[in-house]
Amino acid sequence: CASGKLDDDRLPDQPPEELYRQGQQKLDQGNYEAAAKAFEEVERQHPYSQWATRGELMAAFAYYQANKYDEAIGAAQRYIDLHPGSKDVPYAHYLMGLCYYEQISDVGRDQEMTQKALDTFSELVRRYPESQYAADAKLKIDLVRDHLAGKEMEVGRYYERRKLWLAAINRFQNVVQNYQTTTHVPEALHRLTESYLALGMKQQAQEAAAVLGYNFPGSEWYQRSYALLKGENLEPGRSGSGSWLSRLF
């Protein structure tokens, strides 16, 4: 009972190596999406040839080159599910991590991709620590964590601008305590000095500035904290003073 519909668009079957070679050729020409389709054709027509296994991975790579992130992630995930034992599985994980990594948006926006990149790279480093991709994955993890810390700082600064010091302190503390290896720690410590002083918690302010000075003596953030604590602009003020613009209203 073969139905009519299927016969008319039956593709001429070609030997797997031929299809694979076509895929590679298109890849070299930079025609990435066509390449991905060709590699998938290998698997569809010859699911049992070892070219098919190779083809799946190349399809994922080709989609990645074509910025088709969702397709690339789908293909890589299928490769991992079907060939968990293969030597190329670390690369498939790495490729998925890159797909998420390249969709990271700036700190003001949704960090879903950042989180997924972090999870994928962490899994790669945890399961295949000696794979050649683990090194770059570790580097990416640091960059991604730095980005997440950047988001915490962005929210902290938002609350600081609105003089909601408690909310700001908790955000900056989160950076200092949970993102110690990121580039945001010096600024976080300075922001804590600012917020504590604004609340009249001089001892905590001095502590934060001391830790900042001790760990990052050369940082310009330390100079700013130092200036604040030496009382450069310590004029007593009931409500927010500062630039004439805000005092004008």
């Binding site: 190329d88 990271i104 700036d106 918690m201 409500s239």
Partner: protein
């Protein structure tokens, strides 16, 4: 037009606060009386803080902080209160947050992207792009 008063943070109930005796009350007791602290010390966890704030919001004027209270409770190593202190707006300092920011990466949305609707690709490591899976 009369302003609206907004209260923020954790206002401590003075009657309960008076029941906290240095050398007597334990950490759990304080938590039962006042609830968990708004924030703890950044470096030493032995002191708890309950911070509250009342601002006056009038039309487009910047919120004016009218009240700001910090209640601090210190504990010794085995969790017994050693000191209870509180202060208000009198110790507050006028602070203008520093305008500089630590640089971060990530796709900044451009006007074109907004209208075209897709978020551009942030190129992470150009040299890794060409090199496909090992042993093509």
């Amino acid at each position: 037009c009369q302003p609206t008063i907004n209260t923020h943070g954790h206002e401590v109930d003075t009657t309960q606060l008076s029941q906290i005796k240095p050398g007597v009350t334990s950490r759990e007791e304080v938590a039962r009386l006042l609830g968990s602290p708004s924030t703890k010390g950044t470096f030493e966890k032995e002191s708890w803080f309950y911070i509250s704030q009342r601002n006056e919001a009038k039309s487009f004027y910047q919120d004016k902080v009218t009240e700001q209270d910090v209640v601090r409770i210190d504990f010794d190593a085995n969790g017994i209160v050693t000191n209870v202190s509180a202060h208000g707006l009198e110790l507050a300092q006028a602070i203008e947050p520093d305008p500089n920011k630590t640089r971060t990466m990530g796709n900044e949305l451009t006007v074109l992207q907004q209208f075209v609707g897709n978020i551009g690709r942030f190129n992470s490591s150009p040299e890794l792009r060409q090199q496909g899976p090992v042993g093509r």
